[in-house]
Symmetry: C2
DNA sequence: CTGAAAGCGCTTACAG
DNA sequence: CTGAAAGCGCTTACAG
């Protein structure tokens, strides 16, 4: 395969100049740059990423850690992140935990990330104290998405989970419901803070309406269709079913709809159902929900992560020359999470309770 | 960060020996290996992938090209592939085309893949002749998933699309349907051979039942929920609706269900609907379908791809020593595609037509 | 079984 | 603006 020496020879310059010209560094004359580009084009030259990264000391790779990839939220986030990273010439190294403890250890062992990536994105991945300090020791830039996966010093992009849950619950209250069940996440799963915040939003909305939250209407299960389905089946088995169900995510809400249907109950005539997400298929199912901007969270987090990386790539003098620009940023960009808005989407799965 | 020299010093051996011991090469004494492993553990040493790859001449990375990542089939395939690759120490470099022509050019420009990956997996990505020859020139091992993305000399894992379509159509015929519409894929999208084969299966099944396929019941649209929805709306607008719809994939079938409901038609009482896939949510929707093993196709394709890669990593003498083992494989593993089975799953979206 | 030395293909000070 | 040379951190023949 053609290498940088070949291009240098054909262009009649040194390899150092080829390197500079190809990377668009300003310290190359226009004429030289043209010759180098032409030579590279003619030889179909492409830089060897490994050599470049080894010599340059940057990997041009970002690790993205997700608990799952096939669930709607995470798939959508990864798609948006990948898009943004590729645009900037960064590779995406995907770590899909998938509930695998072994992989988790590998990923979060500091030395495995070190030398391998320039930055880390944690999506709804809660770190234990030991993992947290190990990661901090790496001194890598990072960003998190979703509550519960915060890392001190790292920016965080998320929605306001409590507010989203309150919006969903209030919608049911406004329709006249009083017996409202909640399907929450498994406390061992994902960044459980997300579940907890959504539950708190649910409980607060109830209390504001003068209703005491009932433990018997509050179930913990997996953040999946099957989880929602199982929990709903259990709820129905307890007798005296609720008139409405607020599920902590749309996939659980879909499971609830299935379980209700299997039990011969109609949605929304017998039981109303609402979730959070605005999953692709929620429209098909007529599921009312509180939508969250998954792709936008991914894009934004990727940009926030790339920003300091670009800085690192620049020659130090250039950065030092414009200290004023740095000052325009907030003193500590990680201090405040970036909260993206959510929105109530009313479809066919919510209606007033039957008068009886 | 600790490097190989540090480990060598601590263990009292050369870097070459450290390298060999850590990679598990057989030419290291047990005692030495123990000492090296202990030293590496103590120093929390992790090899620098870039240095290792540059020196070793292998990237330990596989390129996976998918047209989308958020659609069920592709997400499921990627999850399974990533799992298999990680187990073998390979990284997954994800190329999500997402309809982006620019990215497509970058990925399929040979020099960009070269030096960057050891192997290529194409998922439902149809190559044009120029791309095909460019890729062949790289002489990289590869594998494809899905029909329509075949590359000469590369193994292919897929289902029998015609057979799956016939199964779905026959199910409708067996129920007594005669006016059966088909929602097919956009000919410009994905590996269009998939759509074409499914359409042929549909047409053949009709003909075997003595029905002449009607162009007015055969629509082309996108392989998405919205595509299925739009096509169905158009179908209904033409008047004299079919009594059943066979959609080329479950997501289109879901869109069809939505459009039917929006038009005031009930599924299956007024119109039956069936798809292909067995999407996660098909159970929730009660959608009848012909299931295909997406994860298994991904796992199998990954294994097939890794097999020759492992061979390349081995020292040549070891391979030569056991020529008999090579002979046990089919002479040309790429000559015959690996066909995985599909299965009819009857749920609530298909029923006999109304007697009228 | 082990080591010394060359080399993988780039980038980066340094000097001019 | 450009080049000569060192170096990034490994692996691989080669020799013993």
């Amino acid at each position: 395969m053609t290498k940088i020496d070949d291009v240098a020879r054909l262009a009649g310059v040194s390899t150092a100049t080829v390197s500079r010209a190809l990377r668009g560094l300003p310290t190359v004359s226009a004429a030289t740059r043209r010759r180098v580009l032409a030579a590279a084009e003619q030889l179909q030259y492409a830089v060897s990423p490994n050599a470049s990264r080894l010599a340059g000391g940057r990997t041009a790779t970002v690790a993205v850690v997700v608990p799952w990839i096939t669930r709607w939220f995470f798939g959508t986030v990864v798609e948006a992140v990948e898009d943004t990273l590729h645009e900037s010439g960064y590779d995406l190294l995907l770590y899909n935990l998938g509930g695998r403890e072994r992989l988790r250890k590998r990923v979060l062992r500091p030395s495995s990330l070190n030398k391998r990536v320039d930055g880390v994105m944690l999506v709804a991945t809660h770190l234990r104290p030991a993992e947290l300090s190990a990661l901090a020791a790496l001194d890598l830039p990072g960003v998190t998405i979703s509550s519960g996966s915060e890392v001190p010093g790292w920016p965080c992009v998320r929605i306001d989970d409590m507010a989203a849950a309150r919006t969903a619950t209030r919608h049911l209250l406004d329709l006249g419901h009083r017996r409202i069940a909640h399907l929450s996440g498994d406390p061992d799963e994902l960044a459980f803070t997300t579940h907890r915040n959504r539950r708190r939003g649910y409980q607060e909305a109830l209390r504001e309406a003068g209703i005491v939250p009932s433990p018997s209407l509050d179930l913990e299960t997996q953040f999946t269709i099957d989880g929602g389905s199982r929990a709903t089946a259990e709820l129905l088995a307890r007798g005296e079913p609720p008139t409405a169900i607020f599920a902590a995510c749309d996939e659980m809400a879909m499971g609830a709809m299935r379980a209700l249907r299997d039990a011969g109950l109609r949605v929304p005539q017998d039981v109303s159902v609402i979730g959070i997400d605005d999953h692709d298929l929620s429209g098909v199912l007529g599921l009312s929900t509180v939508s969250q901007p998954a792709a936008e969270q991914g894009r934004l987090a990727a940009r926030i992560l790339l920003d300091p990386l670009r800085g690192r790539a620049l020659p130090a003098p250039v950065r030092r020359a414009v200290p004023g620009q740095l000052g325009r940023r907030p003193a500590d960009p990680a201090s405040e999470p970036v909260i993206l808005p959510t929105r109530l989407v009313v479809r066919d799965s919510t209606a007033p309770p039957r008068p009886d």
